[in-house]
């Protein structure tokens, strides 16, 4: 028997069609994909791996990752990481931990409900990868906390912050959406769009910045994560291709899902990764705009999506808006973070002269649209937020894009309520599937309007003298033991 046949025998052929309980009980319609294939069993995953090979390879990767950690601890590398990069990790690490953890829980769902045996096997292996990535982020957090005590979120704070702090609600909303999708949509959203198009920003561009600023552990962790991602990308690409080859019904679904997740990924990565490339690091090897154009526009859109145009697939419908936002996005995000820095547990600094020169050089629109804000701040103007922003009812980020002076806000009336969106992309996503995105709590301003001011201050992490209280300074029980709206 040839090895491909052996692989099929040991993986895809494990599946059988139940007869005692029937299809409706085994995979109820509620959980099935809307995609169609003449014979799902003929789909073949491209990156075939058996259990025994998987654990052997992954155990070796783990050994290498921990060897770098150990060396970093022994020779004190992590203690010499540039302080500004450490601040980046205070924000980034928790977001990464929960993002990976979601993917782990989300992909076992794909494994359970996907119709093709090959997708089920590959998704289960991917779920284990994602669990690994979450654990590696936890180890990194442990190392950071050990060497940079001030301001890092300890685990007991980490979950509370992720659940309740406004900073994480965009991240949380993204993954709650992704964990509750059609199983093939989850593949398109995660494997095709997020991992093929966007994780190069996370796991190649960001580690380059980390290493440039002395964080070798971060570089090693993310490069080893990216080695898993290549498997995931291959699955996403082969699923998309297979779906597109079988009829127009699939084309409209795949197109819509790619359009949706392209916009959601753009919005999330802009918020989480762009400051990590453009503002936090002292040494900046690549700008967010450059990374976006290289990995998302050139590699994904002009490469992969273009190649699939033979099946009718078009570039994402809001690509032009994304490209426009990338000109301003990191600056808009950093300004927002600066004005709310009292509510954050990491330091948000004013750009230095070197930073400003780099920003002017990399972003031609920076001078006209953003430099004035920093000149005013440098001259002593108080720019701290004293109001609450309008928050997008889809992505949960403030309606402040492409930049504050030209912020978009799009209304939709649905079932007697007015919803606001930060972009045409978010509005389009809402209108496609409004019932899924119905508001689950009142807008922040209404929730806070009736609250005791001390409760609000406590929630927003502000001490009486205006200094932030977050990170390792946040004690057990710091957040009130009461139902807290997630969108504050």
């Amino acid at each position: 028997m040839k090895s491909r046949e052996q692989y099929q025998r040991l993986t895809h052929s494990l599946h059988w069609d139940p007869t005692y309980v029937g299809d409706d009980a085994y995979i109820p319609e509620e959980w099935r994909t809307a995609c169609t294939m003449p014979d799902w069993k003929k789909f073949n995953d491209p990156f075939q791996i058996l259990f025994e090979d998987y654990v052997r390879i992954q155990a070796e990767k783990e050994d290498k990752f921990h060897a770098v950690r150990d060396a970093g601890a022994r020779f004190g590398h992590i203690g010499r990481v540039d302080p500004r990069w450490v601040e980046a990790m205070k924000s980034f690490n928790t977001a990464l931990t929960y993002s990976e953890y979601y993917n782990y829980r989300g992909h076992v769902r794909v494994a359970r409900f996907a119709p093709a045996p090959a997708i089920r096997i590959a998704s289960m292996v991917q779920a284990m990868d994602e669990r690994r990535h979450a654990e590696e982020a936890i180890y990194q957090a442990k190392d950071y906390v050990k060497h940079h005590e001030s301001g890092f979120l300890l685990p007991k704070d980490r979950i509370t912050f992720f659940e309740r702090h406004w900073y994480f609600q965009g991240d949380r909303s993204f993954f709650e959406d992704l964990i509750t999708t059609d199983p093939i949509e989850a593949i398109i959203g995660t494997n095709l769009v997020f991992e093929t198009a966007f994780t190069n920003l996370l796991f190649i561009a960001a580690p380059a910045a980390g290493v440039a600023n002395g964080d070798f552990g971060f570089g090693q962790a993310h490069l080893t994560i990216q080695s898993d991602e290549t498997r995931h990308m291959a699955l996403g690409q082969s699923v998309a291709r297979a779906m597109l080859q079988f009829g127009d019904d699939n084309l409209s679904l795949i197109q819509d899902w790619m359009d949706k997740w392209f916009w959601r990924c753009h919005r999330l990565l802009l918020a989480v990764v762009s400051p990590v490339l453009d503002y936090f690091p002292k040494k900046k090897p690549i700008s967010y705009k450059e990374a976006f154009r290289r990995y998302v526009l050139e590699d994904f859109i002009e490469g992969y999506v273009s190649e699939l145009s033979q099946f009718g697939l078009q570039p994402p419908r809001h690509l032009a808006q994304a490209l426009e936002e990338v000109e301003h996005g990191s600056h808009t995000i950093w300004r927002s973070l600066y004005t709310t820095r009292d509510q954050l547990w990491f330091d948000v600094h004013q750009p230095t002269d070197d930073d400003l020169a780099w920003l002017h050089a990399k972003y031609p629109a920076f001078g006209e649209s953003h430099a004035g804000f920093w000149r005013a701040a440098a001259d002593g103007a108080v720019v701290d937020a004293d109001t609450l922003p309008m928050v997008c009812d889809l992505c949960k980020f403030p309606c402040t894009f492409p930049h504050p002076a030209r912020a978009n806000a799009f209304p939709v009336d649905y079932e007697g309520q007015r919803y606001w969106f930060c972009s045409e992309g978010c509005q389009w996503i809402f209108e496609r599937e409004s019932a899924k995105y119905v508001r689950t709590s009142e807008p922040s301003a209404l929730l806070l309007a009736d609250k005791d001011p001390s409760w609000v201050a406590q929630f927003l992490n502000i001490a009486p003298d205006g200094t932030p209280l977050g990170g390792t300074h946040a004690p057990d029980g710091y957040f009130p033991a009461m139902p807290v709206p997630a969108t504050i």
């Binding site: 028997m1 052996q6 025998r9 040991l10 993986t11 494990l14 599946h15 005692y20 085994y26 109820p28 509620e30 959980w31 058996l50 259990f51 025994e52 654990v55 052997r56 070796e60 783990e62 953890y101 829980r105 289960m124 669990r131 690994r132 654990e135 936890i138 685990p155 979950i159 659940e163 949380r172 709650e176 959406d177 108080v382 701290d384 937020a385 109001t387 609450l388 922003p389 309008m390 949960k396 002076a405 912020a407 806000a409 007015r418 606001w420 019932a435 899924k436 807008p443 301003a445 001011p453 001390s454 201050a457 406590q458 001490a463 004690p475 057990d476 029980g477 710091y478 997630a486 969108t487």
Partner: protein
């Protein structure tokens, strides 16, 4: 009344809440003018000929609307110190409790699953993130679960990589001297019928734990079930590899599917596995799969595969079964810990025990009968299945879950 406003060409929309249910333009502009973004300037609505006394409602401005504002005059940026609320920080802080240092299993597993309220909270079940209703079992604290094996990804892959090397060596040795070519014909005949189909029940358990891992209500439980899930893939592949190894020397090991779907000795097992796979209650699925079904099934399957193996010239199969058994023992311990958690819950334990008693009463006699049908009526298989049954009964008894009805039903099936 909630109004969003933005100063044209300057600031992103801000939220203002007006206490008056029927506010005027002046009420609104007073609020907006006090905000830092106004920079001390005179403000006007971006509408023609509007008086300050006009009601917002009369202008068509409703709750939740966004209005555009024009600022008139020179801006005066705020350079004063921000006012901060007066709270007693020390009063809200809780001193450290001096808890013990956590081990790596705890560090890598705890506090990873977030809780309601969720942003996505379901117009239908598939649109729910995590929900208490995903199992009929109730627990005061799902976060209290701990898996006795204390495995996390790093230790799991290390452990299973070692186990894989060991098993691979056994396969290599067996292949090197063509051991399976000389296995006694009666054993080959038995394995031709039984070996390949045994990959399916473990794959069924794998599918079951895909579901339990997705919906379990704490990261501790999902951590344990995900390793059960992945182990079951390992077992299904090991049974398959054994069949492939036999197929190198003997005919009839190519396609186990027809026997699994039709051979009488597998049908009771297949029915149960399909029922467990289709159990959408994740807590119930853990109990059915790993407390009741798996111990009985594995005892029967391994009795079938290993009895007389060495005497017939097959040392490989018992070695592989032993490696699988190592995993199964861990699974049973993890499932027992889950059983103790829900059965011993102070608030919900009694109800949980009633539920589990009912589930076990339904499944246990059938699982027992299926294992007997699978293993055949040999002395060795009867002893193995009986031992497994004793273990199952002991777990339920220790959890104070009613046994008499179950025991008598099993006796009836046995008879």
């Amino acid at each position: 009344m909630l109004i969003y406003s933005r100063i044209l060409g300057e600031a992103a929309p801000e939220a203002f809440v007006l206490a008056d249910d029927d506010p005027t333009v002046s009420d609104l502009l007073n609020h907006i003018g006090a905000a830092r973004s106004a920079q001390g300037r005179l403000l006007e609505l971006d509408l023609p000929d509007v008086l300050g006394t006009a009601k917002l409602a009369d202008l068509g401005i409703a709750d939740g609307d966004l209005i555009d504002i024009r600022a008139v005059g020179e801006p005066h940026p705020d350079t004063g110190v921000s006012a901060k609320p007066d709270i007693d920080v020390d009063a809200i802080r809780v001193p450290p409790d001096g808890a013990r240092r956590l081990n790596e299993y705890e560090e890598a597993t705890r506090l990873l699953q977030w809780h309601a309220p969720y942003h996505i909270d379901g117009d239908r079940p598939a649109h729910q993130v995590w929900t208490d209703d995903s199992t009929a079992l109730r627990c005061t604290d799902w976060e209290a679960y701990r898996s006795p094996d204390k495995l996390y990804y790093r230790t799991y892959t290390t452990r299973q990589s070692r186990a894989g090397r060991s098993v691979a060596t056994a396969f290599d040795f067996t292949a090197a001297d063509s051991q399976l070519a000389t296995v006694a014909p009666e054993r080959v005949e038995m394995l031709r019928e039984a070996l390949g189909p045994l990959q399916y029940p473990d794959w069924g358990l794998c599918v079951t734990h895909q579901h339990t891992t997705r919906f379990a209500l704490s990261s501790w439980i999902a951590g344990a079930t995900s390793f059960m899930m992945f182990d079951e893939l390992r077992h299904a592949q090991l049974y398959g590899r054994l069949a492939l190894a036999y197929g190198e020397h003997h005919d009839g090991f190519d396609d186990p599917g027809p026997a699994w779907m039709a051979a009488p000795q597998f049908q009771p097992t297949r029915r149960i596995v399909e029922e467990i796979m289709a159990t959408l209650d994740w807590g119930k699925a853990i109990i059915l799969a790993d407390i009741v079904f798996e111990p009985l099934h594995t005892a029967a399957a391994h009795s079938l595969l290993t009895s007389g193996a060495l005497a017939a010239g097959d040392s490989l199969t018992p070695f592989v079964c032993r490696s699988i058994e190592d995993d199964k023992i861990r699974h049973r311990e993890s499932a027992s810990a889950f059983l103790r958690l829900v059965a011993g819950d102070e608030r919900h334990g009694e109800r949980n025990r009633e539920l589990i008693s009912g589930w076990a009463a339904d499944l246990m006699p059938r699982a027992y009968a299926a294992s007997v049908a699978l293993a055949g009526a040999t002395t060795a298989s009867a002893a193995a299945v009986s031992e497994a049954l004793t273990w199952v009964q002991a777990q339920l008894a220790e959890a104070e879950i009613g046994l008499p009805a179950i025991a008598s039903a099993v006796e009836e099936v046995s008879a």
